[in-house]
C-alpha cells in the first residue's frame, strides 16, 4: 500500500467537477480529505491523503495534473522534535526507508526528512513521541489563502 499526502491547488474552473469521485471510482484510490477550502468562483485548496497501489496513485495524479491542478507533495510533514528525541534508536529498526538511521561512527540517530515517505510508523514506536505528523508550512499557506 502506497500512502502519500499532497497539497492541491484547484483552478477556478475545476470547482464544479466531481474530482474526488473520479479519483475513487476511476483510479481506485482511497481519498482522505485532511483539509479543504473550496469556494465557488475562487481557487480551491485541498490537502488530501491518497492511498492505493502505487501506479493507481500515480495515474490519479496525472489525471489531476491534466486538469491544471497544482500539486505539491508534502514530504516534510513528519517532523522530529529534537528537544524530545533522546536518540535511543528504537525507531531506526522500523523505518522502512531508513529516513531514521544511525550514523555508526558516533551512534547518533539522524532523521532525513527528504527520505521520509510519511508512513507514520515511527510516530507511536517512539517512546517519547518525538516524531510528529504535521503539515508544516503548507498549512500556513492554506491559512493565508483562506484569510484573504
Amino acid at each position: 500500500m502506497y500512502t502519500r499526502i499532497y497539497f492541491f491547488r484547484f483552478p477556478k474552473d475545476t470547482c464544479d467537477r466531481p474530482i474526488i469521485y473520479h479519483l475513487i471510482k476511476e483510479h481506485e484510490v482511497e481519498v482522505n480529505i485532511l483539509r479543504a477550502d473550496i469556494l465557488p468562483e475562487r481557487e480551491g485548496v485541498m490537502i488530501l491523503e491518497l492511498k492505493g497501489a502505487k501506479n493507481n496513485v500515480r495515474a490519479a495524479l496525472a489525471y489531476l495534473e491534466g486538469l491544471g491542478v497544482g500539486i505539491e507533495r508534502l514530504a516534510t510533514r513528519v517532523r522530529r522534535d529534537e528537544q524530545r528525541c533522546f536518540e535511543c534508536g528504537a525507531c531506526t529498526g522500523i523505518c522502512p526507508v531508513q529516513a531514521l538511521y544511525v550514523r555508526r561512527e558516533d551512534m547518533a540517530v539522524l532523521f532525513d526528512p527528504d527520505k521520509c515517505t510519511g508512513c507514520g510508523q515511527c510516530v507511536l514506536i517512539c517512546p517519547v513521541r518525538a516524531m510528529e505528523m504535521s503539515l508544516g508550512k503548507e498549512w500556513l499557506q492554506l491559512e493565508s489563502v483562506t484569510m484573504d
Binding site: F86, C88, G89, A90, G93, D106, I125, P127, V128, R129
Partner: protein, 387 residues
C-alpha cells in the same frame, strides 16, 4: 611495581585539579594502545553513563498538609494513581503506573499516553500537577478529601528512588513467532525480522566494574542530571550470572538501587515513556565514576564493545512462558553495527538505550570532576559479588 591508589588520593588529585579522568570509551583506546600497566598508572577515574528505559523507577513525594489535616489513603497525581499506604501525606509514585482512565491494551496495541514517568517529567519541567487525595477520616486527620495544584517547588520533599536501575547487561530481543509482538523491548516483527537491545555496552556503568570492586552502598553518581547515590543492590541483582573469561556477565546480572533529590534533576535526563502495547516507563540518565584503584580496574574499564556479549532471547513465545533459551551470543560491537546474524540470516538491530546520551553523561561526570565540583565517595559496603 603495580599501581595501587586510594579514594583519598584520587579525591585529593580531583581537588587540586590534577586528576586524570577519561570516559569509558576513551579508556578502551588508552588500554589498547598503552597497555593495562600504563593505563592504571596514568588514569585516575573512568566515567560511565547510560540513558535508557528503566521500569523499576519512581519517586517518594511528601505533598504537605492541608487544614483540616488528612491521612491520604487514595492518591492521584494528574489522574495517575500513587501509593496511599504510607504516612499521612507521603506517597510513592511508580513510573509504570498509567493514568487511571487510560484504555490500556483494550485498543491493542495501547498507546499509554500518560503515566507516572510523565508526572515526574512534568514536575521537573516546572509544570503544575493536580493532586487529589481521599481519606476515611480520623480524629487526628479529619479531612476526607484534598485537591491541590502543585509544582516541584511546592513539594516539601521529592526523592527519586529506583529499586532497580543500571542493569549489568541485557537481552537482545527477537520475535520468533509468526505475529508481531509489542514488548518492553519495543515492537518486534514476526519471524525474527528485527532485533532490539538495551545496554550502553562499553559505556554502561556496571560493565566497567564487572565484579563490583568499587560500586556499592554510598557510591556517589550522576542521576537524572543531579547528584545521587547507590543505596543498595537492586532487585533481581544476580552476581552469579555466567561470565566470559574477562569477567563480564553474558546475561543480565548485577543491578543497583539508586536515590537522588528530584529537585536537583533535569527533564533532559529524566523522561516519561509511552511504550506501545506495553505501558509507561521512565528513561533515566545514570552515570557512575569508576576509580582506577589498580590494574584490575584499569583492565575492567578498558573492555570494548567487541569483548562484551549478550544472549539473543525470543520474546514471541519463550519470554512470557518462562522458557530460558538462547538463540546465540552476540557482541555489542556487532549489535551496534546495525546487523547481526541469527541462524545464518542477517537481522537488523536497533537500540533502546541512547549511546549519544550515555556518552554525554560520562562527559558531564568527567567535567564535574575536572572542575572539582564532584568527588568520589567510597562505598560503606560493596554490592554482593559472585559466590
Amino acid at each position: 611495581m603495580t599501581t595501587k591508589k586510594t579514594y583519598e588520593e584520587i579525591n585529593a588529585r580531583i581537588k587540586s585539579g590534577q586528576a586524570v579522568i577519561v570516559t569509558a570509551e576513551e579508556m578502551v583506546t588508552i588500554v589498547r594502545e598503552q597497555g593495562v600497566k600504563e593505563a592504571a598508572k596514568k588514569i585516575d577515574v573512568v566515567t560511565t553513563g547510560t540513558f535508557a528505559p528503566m521500569c523499576s523507577s519512581g519517586a517518594f513525594i511528601n505533598f504537605g498538609q492541608c487544614v483540616p489535616t488528612i491521612k491520604a489513603s487514595k492518591i492521584w497525581i494528574n489522574k495517575v494513581p500513587a501509593y496511599g499506604g504510607l504516612a499521612a501525606v507521603d506517597t510513592y509514585l511508580g513510573a509504570t503506573e498509567p493514568a487511571e482512565d487510560d484504555p490500556l491494551n483494550k485498543v491493542y496495541p495501547g498507546e499509554f499516553k500518560y503515566g507516572g514517568g510523565h508526572v515526574i517529567e512534568d514536575l521537573l519541567k516546572g509544570k503544575k500537577v493536580f493532586l487529589e487525595a481521599k481519606a476515611y477520616g480520623t480524629d487526628c486527620y479529619a479531612a476526607r478529601k484534598m485537591k491541590k495544584e502543585m509544582t516541584l517547588d511546592d513539594l516539601p520533599h521529592a526523592l527519586l528512588c529506583n529499586p532497580r536501575n543500571g542493569y549489568q547487561n541485557y537481552n537482545c530481543a527477537v520475535n520468533l513467532s509468526d505475529k508481531v509482538v509489542y514488548t518492553y523491548m519495543g515492537m518486534l516483527k514476526p519471524n525474527c525480522r528485527n532485533a532490539n537491545y538495551c545496554s550502553a555496552g562499553e559505556l554502561s556503568p556496571l560493565m566497567n566494574d564487572p565484579y563490583y570492586k568499587t560500586i556499592g552502598i554510598g557510591t556517589r553518581i550522576f542521576l537524572g542530571g543531579g547528584v545521587g547515590y547507590v543505596t543498595w543492590h537492586g532487585t533481581q541483582h544476580n552476581p552469579n550470572a555466567p561470565r566470559t573469561e574477562n569477567g563480564i556477565p553474558r546475561r543480565p546480572a548485577g543491578t543497583i538501587m539508586v536515590q537522588g533529590d528530584l529537585k536537583q534533576m533535569s527533564p533532559d535526563w529524566i523522561k516519561g515513556l509511552s511504550i506501545l502495547g506495553y505501558g509507561n516507563s521512565l528513561a533515566v540518565g545514570l552515570g557512575i565514576p569508576i576509580p582506577v584503584l589498580d590494574e584490575e580496574m584499569a583492565a575492567a574499564t578498558g573492555r570494548g564493545d567487541d569483548e562484551i556479549y549478550t544472549q539473543i532471547v525470543d520474546y514471541g513465545n519463550d519470554y512470557t512462558n518462562g522458557i530460558n533459551k538462547t538463540y546465540g551470543e552476540v557482541s555489542y560491537a556487532e549489535l551496534k553495527s546495525g546487523t547481526i546474524t541469527i541462524a545464518g540470516k542477517a537481522v537488523t538491530t536497533a537500540s533502546l538505550s541512547s549511546t549519544v546520551k550515555a556518552r554525554k553523561i560520562a562527559e558531564t561526570l568527567k567535567k564535574w570532576m575536572q572542575e572539582g565540583s564532584f568527588f568520589l565517595h567510597e562505598p560503606a559496603s560493596l554490592l554482593p559479588g559472585p559466590g
